[in-house]
């Protein structure tokens, strides 16, 4: 779905594919074509082998909550309607040292190990956002 946002991310030259993928409904993460390591946030060289041969590839979009906070005060206009809301730090299933934060869409209380899946949201044709929701 398309959402009306006041704060729209401005992709850098390195992150255009990431934001574009979210606009198209996918979570894509850099994947080293040489050593196989996944990398996030996007960066110039692979963290594993320092090569440049990385490609943005779609991940399963699932993971589990490692830590979380409940935001009661915010200065981000787009989040005001949700207050208080849960921000979750999600460990991707693909690799244990990748943590991707996002708003948790649920009425339930978060807990460590809670299984979640990515919910990409289209903001513009080229920029999307990422939230999480419980798998079941």
């Amino acid at each position: 779905m398309m959402s009306q946002r006041k704060v729209i991310p401005v992709p850098s030259r390195d992150t255009v594919p990431y934001w574009g993928a979210l606009a198209n409904g996918h979570l894509e993460v850099q994947h080293c074509q040489d050593c196989g390591k996944w990398t996030w946030p996007p960066r110039p060289l692979c963290s594993g082998c320092h090569g440049e041969n990385m490609a943005f590839e779609q991940v399963k979009g699932t993971g589990e909550i490692f830590s979380w906070i409940v935001v009661h005060r915010s200065t981000t206009p787009d989040m005001m309607p949700y207050l208080p809301y849960t921000l979750a730090l999600v460990r991707l299933d693909e690799q244990a040292d990748i943590y991707i934060p996002g708003r948790l869409i649920t009425d339930r209380e978060a807990h460590r190990g809670m299984r979640v899946r990515a919910v990409p949201e289209k903001i513009t044709d080229t920029v999307g956002d990422l939230a999480w929701t419980p798998e079941a």
Partner: protein
């Protein structure tokens, strides 16, 4: 041989300190705040403005640059400067770099200053975040409102609670202790006593952090004069030697193989710091821990080697950190939580007063060696710390 061993141990000294009033609205520019603090620090050192040949500051583009300060003060012989982007994580690197400069003769008199209108102008609450200008991982946090330091640190605090059973009350005891230490500090912005009940009842900011877990937004400036240890002997005050310093780090969650938020990022810094000073945790008489929030204090007590992981709550209950009677008094002025937030430079000011024996009713009994720290890694990836020793 560790890298820390190369530090010019005890060869530079803090000879002067200066500060403005700490307030919610200074009514003047950071240029004016810096100038006033520098003038006070130079006078305290028994030196003249013309003696300054090095200037160092830091901040997220909200201090005032050394080249402007030099022009404003009419300094024509600048031979060393640092104008470091970023916040509290780099604060003690200023002390370390000034020590490197004066100990090898690149400069003779370096003034470190931090000036900010942190309440009346450049607040760190995320309201002015510009999507086009934010770097790297913050880019991805911002749309969800994950933009302020309280949230980052609260995420770490939660991980510690999950792993060690740390309770809200444990963070609360740090808030209460800090406030108690501020009560007799004339510089402190918050001098109304609080109890653990007040803490628990204070509003949520980012659960697990209440409002009273968070430091203050402050207008003000602090300046520190660094000269060689040799020169400091001839100046009015007891020289405060820069015994050791370490800055660097590298531990963040940016996919660098680090996968446990509950482990203190102070650990790798602590090893090099103690090596640089030729000292260990047992040699420290008191500490001024960077307390942008309560939890980082707990994490630093562990990381700098004063407690086993998970051991801080019992020590808090046992009074181990009480200013008058504890084995490790910390944040003897009330810290960033209750004195004010001059990005950690007010910690140096307090440590120097304590080492000189000039802290009045706040004076700790053993006051020869102080640990002073900058913010822990996690957010920027940097940490920094120094050990100061009275000559």
């Amino acid at each position: 041989m560790s890298k820390g061993d190369k530090f010019p141990r005890g060869q530079a000294a803090i000879a002067g300190i200066g500060a403005t009033e700490f307030s919610k609205d200074s009514g003047v520019s950071t240029f004016t705040l810096a100038s006033r603090a520098i003038k006070a620090a130079i006078a305290d050192a028994g030196l003249k403005i013309e003696d300054i040949d090095g200037l160092c500051t830091f901040g997220p583009a909200d201090s005032v640059s050394p080249n402007l300060v030099a022009q404003g003060l009419g300094i024509q012989s600048m031979s060393f400067y640092v104008d470091q982007y970023l916040g509290g994580s780099v604060s003690m690197s200023m002390v370390g770099q000034a020590a490197l400069a004066v100990s090898n003769g690149v400069a003779d008199c370096v003034v470190i200053y931090r000036a900010l209108n942190g309440r009346s102008e450049a607040r760190l609450n995320g309201a002015n975040a510009n999507p086009a200008k934010i770097p790297w991982d913050v880019q991805f946090k911002m749309p969800n409102g994950y933009i302020v330091p309280a949230q980052e640190m609260a995420m770490n605090a939660r991980a510690h609670m999950l792993r060690y059973g740390t309770q809200h009350e444990d963070f609360g005891r740090i808030a209460v202790l800090s406030r108690t230490n501020a009560l007799d500090n004339e510089r402190a912005m918050m001098r109304k006593p609080i109890t653990l009940d007040d803490y628990m009842a204070s509003e949520w900011i980012a659960d697990p952090f209440h409002k009273l877990d968070c430091c203050l937004e402050t207008d003000g400036a602090v300046a520190i004069v660094v000269v060689s240890a040799e020169r400091a002997k001839d100046l009015p005050h007891r020289p405060v030697l820069i015994q050791g310093a370490a800055w660097g780090g590298g531990i963040t969650l940016a996919n660098n193989g680090f996968d446990d938020l509950a482990v203190s990022p102070a650990r790798p810094i602590a090893e090099r710091l103690y090596s640089s000073a030729g000292m260990g945790p047992k040699d420290i008489d008191f500490a001024e821990f960077y307390d942008c929030f309560t939890y980082p204090v707990l994490s630093q007590i562990e990381g700098y080697g004063f407690a086993e992981a998970g051991g801080v709550p019992d020590m808090l209950k046992d009074g181990a950190f009480d200013r008058a009677t504890g084995s490790l008094p910390f944040n003897t002025h009330g810290g960033l939580l209750s004195e004010g937030y001059i990005h950690g430079m007010n910690h140096v000011y307090e440590a120097v007063q304590q080492i000189r024996g000039d802290a009045g009713s706040r004076q700790v009994k053993k006051h020869d060696v102080a640990l002073v720290t900058g913010q822990l890694g996690y957010v920027s990836g940097y940490s920094s710390a120094t050990i100061l020793r009275g000559a």
